[in-house]
């Protein structure tokens, strides 16, 4: 036992080094004076200045933030409905199909989701004339669809761990199911909703492949711009952008985690 644990602890330590070294190197070299990303030439914040003067990146970031905000909000509603239905409703027609459809996007390769949604949008256009143009709306639909799968997983596990007696008591006392959901279920699963929303937001902000397929000329998201820049080689302003994203996300996750702690103990 002891021996296997000490081996495991060394392996775990190395695993964490492996996980975090690239992130740390991204951050360090975002403050590098030299254009050569990997040779240290002194401290500088000029890449941050350059980043905020790049209209292409700023415009794409704004598009991505809007898409991520709307997709995450829609995904929360749809994903929570799906999770609630799957956990609380014993039996209904299509339950197996629904549970299959909600978990498949988690593993389905992005190229397949992207291609299939694009072809759907094009067919829909020739049948109903909608969506007339691809852009933000089609990206939002695509992102909502795969984000709701992640939301459903998070909410499902919270719902099935939740003590159901409170809901039952309220129903026995004559409360309407809708009211029980909003007054009792929702507050209990709120932490799962917060992390589901944050997860959806970051996944949407991060998606390159699906957005590349379903977007149109009008909407270029941040990952599309990053990918076209990075393909040509490393550039320090992308390091600066990465540092900002990583710090904002880490702060968001840590705040969410600490805010949710006291509720858990409650």
């Amino acid at each position: 036992m002891k021996k296997s644990l000490s081996f495991a602890s060394v392996a775990t330590f190395l695993g964490f080094v492996f996980l975090y070294a690239p992130i740390v190197s991204l951050i360090i070299f975002s403050f590098n004076k030299s254009k050569l990303v990997t040779v240290w030439a002194g401290f500088s914040t000029k890449w941050y200045v350059k980043l905020f003067q790049d209209p292409q990146i700023l415009a794409a970031a704004w598009v991505s933030l809007k898409v991520a905000f709307i997709s995450a909000s829609l995904a929360i509603v749809l994903g929570t409905l799906a999770a609630y239905v799957l956990v609380r409703f014993r039996r209904f027609v299509g339950k197996n199909l629904l549970s299959g459809m909600i978990s498949a996007p988690l593993v389905m390769p992005d190229v397949i989701i992207g291609l299939s949604l694009l072809l759907l949008f094009i067919s829909m256009k020739s049948f109903f004339g909608w969506p007339a143009e691809r852009g933000m709306v089609t990206i939002i639909i695509a992102h909502t669809t795969f984000c709701m799968a992640y939301v459903a997983v998070v909410v499902q596990s919270r719902l099935s761990n939740m003590d159901q007696s409170l809901e039952e008591a309220a129903l026995d006392l004559g409360a309407k199911p809708v009211r029980v959901f909003f007054d009792i279920t929702l507050p209990v699963i709120a932490p799962a909703l917060v992390s589901g929303w944050l997860l959806s937001f970051t996944l949407s902000l991060d998606d390159l492949v699906i957005a590349s397929f379903v977007t149109g000329p009008g909407a270029t998201t941040l990952p599309i711009v990053i990918f076209s820049k990075v393909r040509l080689g490393v550039s320090p302003d992308i390091n600066a952008l990465a540092t900002i994203i990583i710090l904002v996300v880490a702060a968001g996750v840590l705040i969410a985690a600490t805010k949710m702690k006291p509720k858990k103990g409650h």
């Binding site: 492996f18 690239p22 799906a82 609630y84 190229v111 072809l119 020739s126 639909i141 992308i238």
Partner: protein, 311 residues
């Protein structure tokens, strides 16, 4: 009297609303997924039987209505024949499966001790460690893959450090090789492997381990005879969570791989964006889906098994 009938009306109406409400609540996510997840695959299937033509959109219609009212259905199976004829596609499928298989195995070997250690940690430390596993997953995947370019390239961090230490004189070529692709895959998919393994290992009954060591089994024997067999559902779930998306991976081979890296996700991307041959791209996607059916079933079975265990 009127009071009772009023009550009756109220309850019937309420039950009606309740049933309707139930259907409504089910149908919103259900139809969303039917329309935006399931139906698209049927469209892909349809277009994979079309012919590429120069038009907008660039494929032929399967159904044509002739003037005398005859409906013609033209299915071009040539797209699938094309996949078989051109050795590029078969070797791309084969090499994607190989890369996915090997990287899944490496990810498992890296993840298992981590999951084991975290599962055996005291609960306060366990939460922090789990958080540290999940945190990189929250930060941009694209940017984390990008970070490896700076680490692996010829004048990158690893080569600079090794040359500075005098271990090597000439830099290693690591970027734009399959090695870089493996590193990138193991790196980005590690959390997907650790989490299901952890969920499984944390449920392991410690008294079994104690009994085994009381009976004189060494730690290796205990591991091989008890821990490993009991963790097989976790191993399957984690492996499939890595294997399935890696088969179709595009970003990692595009950024870290080189000319010798051949993955079907990239082939599909090029077929679509560069060659603009939508029917062939669709056929590539359909064959990929067919290949992934068995792994997806394995994953669902493993997940259902662990759900039932938890309940």
């Amino acid at each position: 009297m009127s009071d009772i009938s009023g009550h009756n009306f109220h309850t019937t109406f309420y039950h009606w609303l309740k049933r309707r409400g139930r259907t409504l609540v089910i149908s919103v996510p259900f139809w969303w997924l039917i329309v935006f997840f399931l139906a698209p695959f049927l469209v892909v299937l349809k277009i994979s039987f079309a012919e590429a033509i120069i038009a907008q959109p660039p494929y032929s219609q399967l159904l044509t209505f002739a003037e005398d009212g005859v409906v013609q259905l033209k299915l071009f199976i040539s797209n699938y024949g094309y996949l078989l004829d051109d050795s590029l596609y078969i070797s791309a499928y084969w090499s994607s499966i190989k890369i996915a298989f090997v990287s899944t195995l490496i990810t498992l070997l890296v993840a298992y001790p981590m999951a084991y250690y975290i599962a055996r940690s005291p609960s306060h430390r366990r939460n922090i460690l789990l958080m540290l596993i999940v945190l990189p997953f929250w930060t941009s995947f694209l940017l984390r893959v990008y970070a490896w370019i700076g680490i692996l390239k010829t004048n990158g961090i690893i080569n600079n450090v090794l040359m500075w230490l005098g271990i090597i004189d000439e830099p290693f070529v690591m970027l734009q090789t399959n090695f870089a692709v493996y590193v990138g895959i193991v790196y980005t998919y590690l959390p997907f492997m650790v989490l299901p393994l952890f969920t499984n290992l944390v449920k392991l009954d410690e008294s079994l381990l104690e009994a085994s060591s009381d009976l004189g089994a060494g730690s290796l024997t205990t591991f091989l005879k008890i821990t490993l067999p009991l963790s097989i559902p976790g191993i399957i779930a984690g492996s499939m969570l890595v294997f399935i998306p890696v088969v179709g991976e595009f970003v990692i081979p595009a950024l870290l791989g080189g000319p010798s890296t051949l993955m079907i996700g990239q082939v599909l991307w090029n077929e679509f964006f560069s060659n603009r041959d939508w029917p062939v791209a669709s056929a590539v996607a359909i064959v990929m889906l067919v290949l992934l059916v068995v792994p997806i079933m394995l994953l669902r079975n493993a997940q259902n098994a662990s759900n039932e265990e938890g309940a």
